[in-house]
């Protein structure tokens, strides 16, 4: 009961409520494109982009921008478009380009922070950009509004383009041959992924983003067999994990990002086990 009282007490603070709202929205968004990420080479792009976003965040921190998303969002989106281009060009190995860009951004970001930062707690700053330790609880109302708006836009676009995303993910050549503008939709997918990554950075930090994007889809794929059921289940699971992660982190005083990801990992283990048991029974 003491825990519950503590929770109720915390919920009276607006920043905790903001954290929960934003957390749920971001978790929902980030799970949506999980299957596409897992099954297309976009997973590399996702990983690379999170490092680019880190570099951008370092620059934003140094420039002392009040709203760093203004800088991070365009840089990440542009990188997404560029990475997709190089990925489609057979001559430059797409994966190598992505590795170069992402490691470069990581090094550059840390360098910039180290050289120019005026902060007294540099390693704390770096740590929180990488692992998102407290940022979810320090969001200003403006940032909360921006997060919420972006999340809702991502969700609406996903619903409107759901069938096209399925067609392009399942069989790009067939989609192209029969008149679907697959390249345009690939671009759209890359841009959505970039936006999601920037959003998710607020929640779990740049190193843990891939986990937030991919674990719910992987868990759902253990249990469900149609695209729609996988998508719906992974969205629900992601929201559930984020909610419980945030609450646990508040009550236990653990870092938000890694707690959410830990919950995601546990959920994956449970789904994996359940999948094996079910597979065993049907044989």
């Amino acid at each position: 009961m003491a825990l519950f009282d503590k929770l109720v007490l915390y919920l009276q603070y607006p920043f905790v409520r903001y954290a929960l709202i934003v957390g749920v929205l971001i978790a929902l968004c980030s799970s949506l494109l999980g299957v596409t990420l897992v099954l297309k080479r976009f997973s590399f792009i996702g990983d690379g982009l999170s490092h680019v976003a880190f570099g951008a965040m370092a620059i934003a921190a140094v420039l002392n921008l009040t709203n760093d998303m203004v800088l991070i969002l365009p840089i990440t989106v542009i990188s997404a478009v560029l990475l997709l281009r190089t990925g489609q060009n057979a001559k430059i190995k797409g994966d190598a380009a992505i590795a170069m860009i992402s490691v470069g951004a990581l090094a550059f970001g840390y360098l910039v922070m180290n050289v120019f930062s005026t902060s007294s707690n540099l390693s704390g700053d770096v740590c929180s950009t990488l692992f998102g330790s407290t940022s979810i609880l320090t969001l200003s109302p403006g940032e909360v509004a921006l997060c919420a708006i972006l999340s809702v836009i991502v969700i609406i676009i996903f619903i409107l383009f759901y069938n096209k995303i399925f067609a392009v993910t399942f069989d790009e050549n067939f989609a192209k041959a029969t008149g679907t503008k697959a390249n345009a939709y690939n671009l759209l997918i890359a841009i959505i992924i970039a936006v999601i990554i920037v959003l998710a950075m607020n929640l779990v930090g740049s190193l843990l983003i891939s986990a937030l994007l991919i674990f719910p889809a992987l868990s759902a794929m253990r249990l469900f067999k149609s695209f729609k059921s996988v998508t719906i289940f992974s969205a629900l699971l992601s929201v559930l994990c984020a909610l419980s992660g945030i609450i646990i982190s508040i009550l236990a005083g653990t870092p938000v990002g890694s707690t959410i990801v830990a919950v995601d990992v546990v959920a994956f283990a449970i789904c994996h086990g359940a999948g094996i048991i079910r597979g065993g029974m049907s044989k």
Binding site: N163, F166, A167, N173, G179, M221, S226
Partner: protein
Amino acid sequence: MAYITVSDLSLGYDAHSILEGLNFTVKAGDYLCIVGENGSGKTTLMKTLLHLQEPLGGQILIGDGLKTNEIGYLPQQTLVQKDFPASVREIVLSGCQGRCGFRPFYSKEEKQLAEENMSRMGISHLANRCYRELSGGQQQRVLLARALCATRKVLLLDEPVSGLDPRVTIEMYELIKDLNKDGITIIMISHDIAAAVRYASHILHISTKIFFGTKDEYLKSDIGKFFLMQQEGGDGIVR
């Protein structure tokens, strides 16, 4: 005017040509079989016909009321990853995507069309099953149903029977024959010359020399006689 007129086409990758001087026509109702050794460029030809890659030279003219995106297509190996979670119905319905344009959701007619094509391919009972758990022959039927959602006119099939056992292979050939009888133009890639001669109306043979003509012309031609002789030892299907 034919559906597809190919004149002096050359194909290849990055300016490296693998086939040159290709000429043939496909008219409504034809059953064209493209035969040739592995690696002779059949799949490349099909990708070029589908505008998935640019020809290095020559022309592909589309006519007789056919639009470029009215060509349904059965890929050689499904590039679909082993793990893809998708039900049969979802996949068949995705064949209608080309007609949607910017419309986000499928219409009633399109859903109806998907159901019709599933029953036409005899896979209605599998509609809610997971694609990756089906047998090879069932998977091919699913992809055929999807292709039929994309077209009523022309189907391009790239080695539709590879990897199927003999009984299922014959079923597949018969299914394709029936589609052709129903008025769908078929362009099928195969390296089974015996089956090509049995089912096709026209043959395009790609090897060091290129042959294009009707089946009867092929049977009388030197190249046709030569390859049929070779195969006869193997399976002796040819009369």
